[in-house]
């Protein structure tokens, strides 16, 4: 993927992140059960969203680094 495409992915992901953590999107992930890894589902899903952000930012950094001389 080109750097531009990855940048768009990051931007879109951040908007999804915002939509899913604020009202009204947050009501979609606001369930307590089932527990995953001992955590309530809503807390676990927030952790997954954070990990996703970490992965995408890493991808962005690596793809930019490849482009630069």
């Amino acid at each position: 993927m080109s750097v531009k495409a990855v940048r768009w992915c990051v931007a879109v992901y951040m908007l999804i992140f915002l939509a899913l953590t604020t009202w009204p999107g947050v009501t979609l992930i606001n369930r307590i059960e089932p527990f995953v890894l001992g955590l309530p589902l809503n807390l676990f899903l927030i952790a997954v969203l954070i990990l996703g952000g970490l992965a995408l930012l890493t991808a962005l950094f690596l793809s930019e680094k490849r482009e630069r001389p």
């Binding site: 915002l18 604020t22 009202w23 947050v26 930012l57």
Partner: protein, 488 residues
């Protein structure tokens, strides 16, 4: 030796090590203002990572985070959410600001804004508001340190003495070594805090309930309202979605606009260092989860601490741990307070001199450095007076501070990315936004809350700020191309 004496000894050793690192780190830095404020623009990845991370892992996260989870439940999840959306724009803005810093010699945020939008009044306004926002924040950190020390020494070292000792040490190393001390002590303190957050966050649920899942099952059975977002308010009523959502947005926008964080763009050695720091930043959000577990572990505990913010030292003291371990845990909580406080004191003094004094009076490099050092003492003293006087509602002040700080975001974005923005537009937007935020804050403070949908006053401020900035800019004469091209 009595138990509290062993704990005190461990904390004393910890404080001595911090002081030593702080003093040694400044030996290499140059004696210039760029050396004192921007670390000669030579911070590597390890230090940058912990500087940003430790600044976030403040007394608010370490004491307030568990306190929120304990008393307000899922409301605390908002703290997890804003970090990622808050830091992502910095991936682009940070390196660009750093480039401007190298090109034009900036060491503060207001210099960047006022470089593009020349106005001494704007510079002073930003300086005044920044310092006004900083004082309650520093006060909160000092109180946090005092609370921990008082709690673990069973009152043998009272709050005023605990704050004075911890912050006396911070003041000494900030005075001598400037931002280099902030960087290296934060690295040490950051590693310390993370170890403690994880070990205690996992140990407490396991020892008290048999596991994290078992703990949440019991909370679900007895206090289910704590596990569903948006959680509760401080008084135990259900929190509103408007309050919860706008808290995420305001904190996200404000996060990197805190001058002590934004200014670190000018300290990074390379742009790649800055980008890597941003990429790794979300890991700090994950480190907050075990901190919340500490608070949740207290929910079904039969005894109660005096205030929710005391839950961490309270749980530590009641967990039946050896004195040495308790001492280490408390040192970790102190780290959280001190690693943010040092950064804040340093930034508050730097901003006052660079943005509040320098536009009016040309001073030599050496005189400016001296003046900054003098102001570190002044700022520290003012915050200390607040910290030891009762009856000041700090959390309320801090939330308002966020409302002010996030008003710095539109001018920064306009300065770097919008050639058509004008000085008049930026000043009008800033005044209108800050005024709106202050108005809604005061309406709530005097008992007649006018905020629609319980939205955060900073959010309402931004909603006025951005349109005013755009409209006034379009109505006034554009800046000459030769000027805004310097910021492209």
């Amino acid at each position: 030796m009595e138990r509290w004496q062993i704990i005190t000894l461990v904390i004393a050793v910890y404080l001595a090590v911090t002081l030593m690192i702080g003093l040694l780190s400044g030996r290499r830095a140059s004696k210039s203002v760029a050396g004192y404020v921007a670390g000669d623009r030579d911070f590597g990845l390890l230090v940058m990572y912990f500087v940003l991370g430790a600044s976030v892992f403040s007394a608010f996260a370490f004491l307030g985070g568990p306190g929120w989870a304990y008393s307000r439940g899922a409301a605390a999840f908002y703290i997890l959410c804003y970090g990622v959306i808050g830091i992502a724009p910095y991936y682009f803005i940070g390196p660009k600001a750093a480039e401007m810093g190298r090109r034009h010699g900036y060491v503060t945020q207001a210099q960047l804004i006022c470089g593009r939008f020349p106005s001494r009044g704007l510079s002073v306004m930003i300086a005044v508001l920044t310092v006004a926002a900083f004082i309650p924040y520093i006060t909160l950190q000092m109180r946090g340190a005092g609370i921990v020390i008082e709690a673990v020494t069973e009152g043998n070292v009272p709050l005023w003495a605990g704050s004075a000792i911890a912050y006396g040490i911070v003041t000494i190393y900030v005075l001598f070594s400037g931002v280099a001390a902030v960087g290296w002590t934060n690295t040490f303190q950051g590693i310390f805090m993370l170890t403690i957050a994880w070990s205690l966050g996992l140990y407490l649920p396991i020892s008290l309930y048999g596991g994290v899942g078992d703990m949440f099952s019991r909370i679900l059975a007895e206090r289910p309202e704590l596990l569903s977002m948006p959680g509760l308010t401080a008084s135990g009523q259900p929190w509103s979605w408007g309050g919860y959502s706008s808290a995420i947005i305001v904190s996200g926008v404000g996060l990197m606009m805190w001058p002590h964080l934004f200014m670190k763009a000018f300290t990074a050695r390379t742009d790649d260092t800055l980008r890597k720091t941003v990429v790794l930043f979300p890991t700090f959000q994950l480190f907050l989860i075990p901190v919340f577990l500490i608070g949740f572990a207290g929910v079904l505990y039969s005894e109660k601490p005096d205030a929710p913010d005391f839950i961490l030292p309270f749980m530590i003291l009641n967990a039946d741990l050896p004195a040495i371990v308790v001492g280490l845990f408390c040192a970790g909580a102190l780290s959280a307070s001190m690693s943010t406080g040092d950064s804040l004191m340093h930034a508050a003094a730097s901003v006052t001199v660079e943005d509040g004094v320098r536009p009016y009076k040309e001073l030599s490099d050496q005189a400016r450095r001296r003046l900054i050092q003098g102001l570190v003492l002044v700022v520290g003293t003012i915050a200390y007076i607040f910290a030891v006087s009762e009856g000041v509602s700090l959390v309320v002040l801090l939330l308002t501070a966020y409302g002010i700080i996030c008003q710095l975001a539109p001018p920064i974005v306009a300065a770097l990315y919008w050639p058509r923005a004008t000085t008049a537009g930026v000043i009008a937007g800033f005044v209108a936004g800050s005024g709106t935020a202050a108005f809604f804050f005061l309406s709530g403070y005097f008992g007649n809350d006018l905020r629609p949908y319980d939205l955060h006053e900073g959010f309402l401020g931004l909603a006025v700020h951005i349109p005013v900035l755009i409209v006034v800019s379009l109505l006034t004469q554009a800046q000459p191309e030769s000027h805004h091209e310097q910021f492209a």
